[in-house]
Symmetry: C2
Subunit: 192 residues, 2 copies
DNA sequence: GCAGCATTACCGTCCGGTTGGTATGTTATC
DNA sequence: GATAACATACCAACCGGACGGTAATGCTGC
């Protein structure tokens, strides 16, 4: 009665649901993102879905909280490897975004976040809160503040470009963007 | 029989419909963007709406084409005032985005574009085409290409930040971004 | 200038399917 | 045996869109 347990851990089920919701959102868009569509890809019934997420809004909240948490963890992990504490989150933010090649998974995540926020504009504040927390935990002296902002803007722009395919960005250009992080170019010298 | 004409110009009606669709999309989100919701704000019936846009997809196409056209016109107008032809579209792109203060209308437009693309992912290619056309009409020598890209990325990032409120960008910082366009800083010297 | 007719702009209702959600079991675990 | 994790059955509201109709306008030949 252990490996053969019928009953599953609720957190695992929740995670599974969220993953499927992300998948549906990414490749069907907002119109296709319905409870039925999500449950159709799951090995259990609609009742189960409603048991874990009592409403569509609750599910969407779960989705963006998951995505924001994932994003935060990734940036923080990247930042931990940076010896210079000043503005390290901003640099990590760019590094996390510029990683090449962009995986299909990355695009799915971005698209899902966008779809979720588009479906329910109120969800934007949750995403915003997560991103601002990342920025506020980033000690930067006033002189480096503008540079940190610029890094974040470039990262966001790149993220959007990857999502929409608006700009062609070659691997070389991606690497070139990383050179913004080398000492003396932008904010790396803001330490002392 | 002129001012009192019963019948309206179809283009005016179409434009009116698109405007309302944008309005609904911006403040109701994707879930609230229904044909009924749009027609409820219009002085005529659902039949008329279906007459001008035979399907919801057609309406959404109309919306993003309108938005892309507006965006293109704005950038081109801005670019026309730039004496240096090299990379002028890229600079205009940033200038058009950085304009301060950001109007409510600007935010609505961005939000509507996002909602439209989220509802129907296929619409992304239309937006992309418009943006790429803007970039391809912009003669830049290879040396200035990376700088032009960076300007565009910053503009996109700022656009996204304005939409989501992810970063606080003060008016001073906005002006500081414009200083990227002054000769000698980025690509303004790429002319000769 | 006007009869005749096709076209276009628009109306209002109805429909079949879908959607988010409820209500009520059933089963397994503590 | 209480509670949590599901299943099954169902519903009311809504949504996109079809449809039949009407009236204003444009066009054509005379």
């Amino acid at each position: 009665m252990d490996a053969q347990t019928r009953r599953r851990a609720p957190e695992a089920t929740r995670a599974e649901i969220i993953d499927m919701a992300i998948e549906v959102a990414a490749d069907q868009g907002a119109m296709g993102l319905t409870m039925d569509a999500v449950v159709a890809r799951l090995p259990f019934s609609k009742g189960a879905l409603l048991h874990h997420f009592p409403s569509k809004l609750a599910l969407l909240e779960g989705v963006i909280d998951h995505l924001a948490g994932q994003m935060t963890a990734q940036v923080l992990e990247e930042a931990a490897r940076d010896p210079n504490p000043y503005g390290r989150n901003a640099r990590a933010y760019l590094r996390a975004t510029v990683n090449d090649p962009v995986t299909e998974r990355d695009v799915s995540i971005g698209r899902a976040a966008l779809v979720a926020c588009a479906v329910e504009p109120g969800l934007i504040v949750r995403w915003r809160a997560a991103m601002r927390a990342l920025a506020e935990d980033d000690p930067v002296d006033p002189a480096g503040k503008d540079d940190a902002l610029m890094l974040r803007l470039i990262a966001d722009g790149l993220w959007m470009s990857d999502l929409f395919g608006t700009h062609e960005v070659s691997p070389e250009q991606r690497k070139a963007l990383l050179s913004l992080l080398t000492p003396g170019v932008l904010l790396a010298e803001a330490g002392a």
